[in-house]
């Protein structure tokens, strides 16, 4: 029995070692299989993302294209309206008082149409914003950005746009001072023409009335600029508040 013990032990250990080797092999095989599966899945995901990205890109291009088309259409309509207005004004120079009245009415209507056009532009901008929002949401979902990060990014974009608007409003102020100088010049010219008897008293009076009317409108416009400036500043504060709200939310 004692003689048999060592060989038996040896056989036992060899068996144990081979079993361990077999187990190791199986483990390796399983690991390889998992790796292969992962690789396949990764490729599939990459393909899917690529297709989605292409889809989003196409959508974005489509919106851009539509917007550009709409803009050029509006531009064409607007320039046509301007031409019509010019033609009416030309006609007004040689028209009788009654005809002038009718032409003025026509001009008014044309301006009304212009305002409608502006309204339509604004609505299309709204639609574009909506589409852009949808794309951003799709992008957010794909890139795995959290709602919070997305919101913060949106707030940043809005702040930049408002900054641009503020700069634009400041330029409007320049327009007011330029127009004031132009009006002053027109007033001096009218008086000069009256002195030189190039204008009748009636014509000079009517011109001065027109100058005063435009001046009044300009004053109103200046007030409105101030008002809009203040409103935009408040809007910036509102955006900052919304941004703060988003920041407070936990990811």
């Amino acid at each position: 029995m004692k003689i048999l013990q060592p060989p038996l032990m040896l056989v036992f250990f060899i068996g144990l070692a081979s079993q361990q080797l077999l187990a190791q092999n199986k483990l390796n095989e399983a690991n390889n299989k998992i790796e292969q599966q992962k690789e396949i899945e990764r490729e599939k995901t990459l393909q899917k993302h690529g297709a989605n990205r292409k889809d989003i890109q196409e959508k974005r291009e489509e919106i851009k294209e539509k917007h550009a088309k709409m803009k050029s259409q509006h531009k064409a309509v607007y320039s046509q309206m301007q031409q019509q207005a010019e033609a009416i004004k030309e006609k007004m120079k040689e028209a009788s008082p009654e005809e002038r009245k009718a032409l003025l009415q026509e001009l008014k209507q044309l301006r009304q149409e212009e305002h409608e056009e502006l309204k339509e532009t604004h609505n299309s901008y709204k639609r574009e914003l909506e589409a852009r929002k949808q794309i951003l949401e799709e992008q957010r979902q794909q890139s795995g950005i959290s709602q919070k990060q997305f919101g913060l990014k949106r707030a940043e974009i809005a702040k930049q746009r408002l900054k641009i608007s503020q700069k634009h409003i400041e330029k409007r102020q320049e327009f007011v001072s330029n127009s004031q100088s132009r009006l002053e010049l027109a007033r001096i010219k009218t008086k000069q023409m009256l002195e030189d008897k190039k204008l009748t008293l009636e014509d000079a009076k009517s011109r001065l009335e027109k100058i005063n009317k435009i001046e009044e409108r300009l004053k109103q416009h200046e007030l409105k600029i101030k008002e809009v400036k203040e409103k935009v500043a408040l809007k910036r504060i509102e955006i900052a508040k919304q941004e703060q709200k988003i920041e407070q939310i936990e990811e």
Partner: protein, 70 residues
């Protein structure tokens, strides 16, 4: 033992549900904030466009006035 286990399970379920609810609420809050930001932006654009249109009209009238001399 069974009772303790069921209590723990119950508590876990409640905490998970409330966590999910908070997450949904947070997402809704962000969405509302983003919507507000968007409408603020829109209102600003509208105001600036109106201002532009008004300026354009005034400029046109001024041009008409200046053209009277020519």
């Amino acid at each position: 033992m069974k009772t303790i286990f069921s209590i723990v399970f119950f508590m876990l379920t409640i905490s998970l549900t409330s966590c999910r609810e908070t997450k949904t609420e947070d997402n809704n809050n962000v969405e509302t904030a983003v919507d507000s930001i968007q409408s603020i932006e829109e209102e600003t654009v509208k105001m600036v466009e109106q201002l532009d249109q008004e300026a354009k009209d005034i400029d046109q009238d001024l041009q008409d006035l200046e053209n009277l001399d020519q």
